[in-house]
């Protein structure tokens, strides 16, 4: 498997096979991540497609010296998601709140419920760390914040999740 730099250089030269490899490797995870922050399967799919389409049309912005290609992709997806929120505005927020049958059903567990109640930034951070296994350095690239800030914000997010989780009526005491 080519390393990030080689893969990116081939993509920049218009190598469709290289881009296909990138897409197949990361698109599912990027979409899953987007579902958590957009709370809509359709919106997540759209934003994921826009993210990759934009990278194929004009591949720029990735610097191997600054982080991994995976971190760059998730960062790009996160920015697209933020643009999506800005464009959709209150309509999408309202739809998301009234849409328990979509994503919320998929993460139907006590932790999942608690997770869904967190602010978007904390959901992003916890998902990327716990599910995607992004390192602190990668999180710093994705969120464009210093590594030290990643650590403190992760703690804040986890603590928020723990408090919401504890507040749920069915939490067993020994879990806490």
């Amino acid at each position: 498997m080519p390393d990030d730099r080689e893969l990116w250089e081939r993509i920049c030269r218009g190598d469709a096979f290289a881009f296909d490899a990138l897409y197949r490797m990361h698109a599912p995870k990027v979409e899953l991540f987007l579902r958590q922050i957009l709370r809509s399967r359709q919106a997540a799919e759209d934003v994921m497609q826009e993210t990759f389409a934009q990278i194929w049309r004009s591949p720029n912005g990735f610097e191997p010296s600054r982080g991994t290609l995976r971190a760059y992709l998730f960062g790009a997806a996160r920015k697209r998601a933020a643009e999506f929120w800005r464009k959709q505005g209150a309509v999408s927020n309202r739809e998301a709140e009234n849409e328990p049958a979509d994503c919320k059903a998929e993460i139907a567990s006590l932790v999942g419920d608690a997770f869904a109640r967190l602010p978007e930034e904390q959901r992003t951070l916890i998902w990327l760390r716990e599910v995607e296994g992004q390192s602190y350095a990668e999180l710093a690239v994705i969120l464009e914040i210093p590594v030290g800030t990643v650590r403190s914000r992760l703690f804040t997010a986890r603590e928020a999740l723990r408090i919401v989780w504890h507040a749920a009526p069915n939490v067993r005491k020994e879990d806490a």
Partner: protein, 372 residues
């Protein structure tokens, strides 16, 4: 260490990060922190379980191409067809026609960005405005100008050089020299600028720029493009009517009998001096002095809008100018054929022509040290 201080390290430990020894010891001994560590770990495990159970999108080789194709570029979008109502199409054509007519009118009216750049500079001491013109396009190029302005506050000499242009902005090299003493004749001396460093100033039409002149203050600079060389540089936007106590001349032509004595370019103006006078020097002809007030040895001439008629030494003269020179109906004229410019103006040569309007008193009594 207290639990609240150790919380961040509990989170870091959960991520497999190294933590300080003191924090590690506290977490090992503290039930609350260990419970928190277990909770964090359980939350992570549960989230990963939930994520694993979620349906992931299946992607096949080449599936991204469909995605890319659906994101049409602007030219691809432009090549597709669309349907609009007939009245909307007709309205669109009408609007395009109207806008086109308007654009033509605007272009005809303004003609911005012409080859002539007129720089205005405002003196802080009395608010007077001087102007300098550069022609940076076309056949007749003028890339620099030297200016002088004086008053009770002293005398300012400027040399301005065209350096370059970027879009509408123009870069000028400006040298200034200020003398607090008043100059009797109001003539500038560019020799004073020889050792003065040149400042580069960017001027954008419509905006003000300032340059600092030690001892005088800040001079305000503005500039505008014209599509032609103005007839009267000093007041390009004014009418042809001369003001009170104003004498001005542009592109003078002197005719003696049926012979053209000279035909000169340029313009000069003097405002506020009730004895304003025109001095013209031409090689081989000497000096003509034409004043709005009588003076010794002068003969009376008649002003008729842009013409001045007079007779000296038995010969009839007609001075034609490109615009009315003065509100006065009469002028007084002398002719000194023996006048040598080099004997009166330091640095001047006898084979060069020149003309200027100044106070008669100054023209008569002063030895001119230098000419710009």
């Amino acid at each position: 260490m207290k639990c609240e201080d150790a919380g961040e390290f509990v989170s870091a430990l959960c991520d497999g990060e190294r933590i300080p020894r003191e924090a590690a010891e506290h977490i090992g001994e503290c039930e609350v922190c260990r419970s928190r560590l277990n909770a964090y770990s359980a939350m992570g495990t549960e989230l990963r379980r939930v994520a694993s159970s979620e349906e992931q999108t299946e992607v096949n080789a080449g599936s991204w191409e469909k995605v890319a194709r659906t994101q049409l570029t602007w030219w691809q979008r432009g090549s597709t067809t669309m349907r609009i109502p007939r009245f909307a199409f007709a309205s669109m054509l009408g609007i395009i026609l109207l806008l086109s007519c308007g654009l033509v009118l605007v272009r005809a009216r303004t003609a911005v960005g012409g080859p002539v750049f007129v720089l205005s500079y405002k003196i802080p001491a009395d608010g007077r405005v001087g102007r300098c013109m550069m022609v940076i396009g076309g056949k007749r190029k003028i890339n620099s100008c030297s200016e002088g302005m004086g008053g009770p506050w002293g005398f300012l000499t400027m040399k301005i050089r065209y350096l370059g242009k970027e879009a509408e902005r123009i870069a000028l090299g400006v040298k200034t020299s200020y003398e607090p003493q008043q100059r009797p004749l109001g003539m500038s001396n560019i020799d004073t600028l020889q050792d003065v460093p040149e400042q580069t100033v960017w001027i954008e039409p419509g905006s003000k720029q300032k340059i600092s002149v030690p001892g005088l203050g800040e001079i305000e600079l503005t500039g505008e493009y014209l599509d032609r060389i103005p007839t009267l540089l000093f007041r390009p936007s004014e009418t042809l009517d001369p003001q009170k106590d104003e004498f001005r001349i542009a592109s003078p032509v002197l005719i003696r009998g049926k012979e053209v004595v000279f035909n000169l370019d340029g313009s000069s103006i003097d405002s506020g001096d009730p004895d304003a006078a025109l001095m013209i020097y031409f090689p081989g002809e000497g000096r003509y002095l034409i004043s709005t007030v009588p003076f010794q040895g002068a003969v009376e001439g008649k002003v008729d809008v842009g013409q001045i008629k007079f007779t000296v030494e038995g010969q009839d003269y007609l001075l034609l100018t490109a615009m009315p020179t003065t509100r006065s109906e009469h002028v007084w004229v002398t002719h000194d054929p023996q006048y040598k410019l080099s004997e009166h103006m330091q640095g001047a040569h006898d084979d060069q022509s020149m003309f200027m309007v100044r106070s008669l008193r100054k023209l008569l009594q002063q030895q001119i040290r230098h000419i710009m």
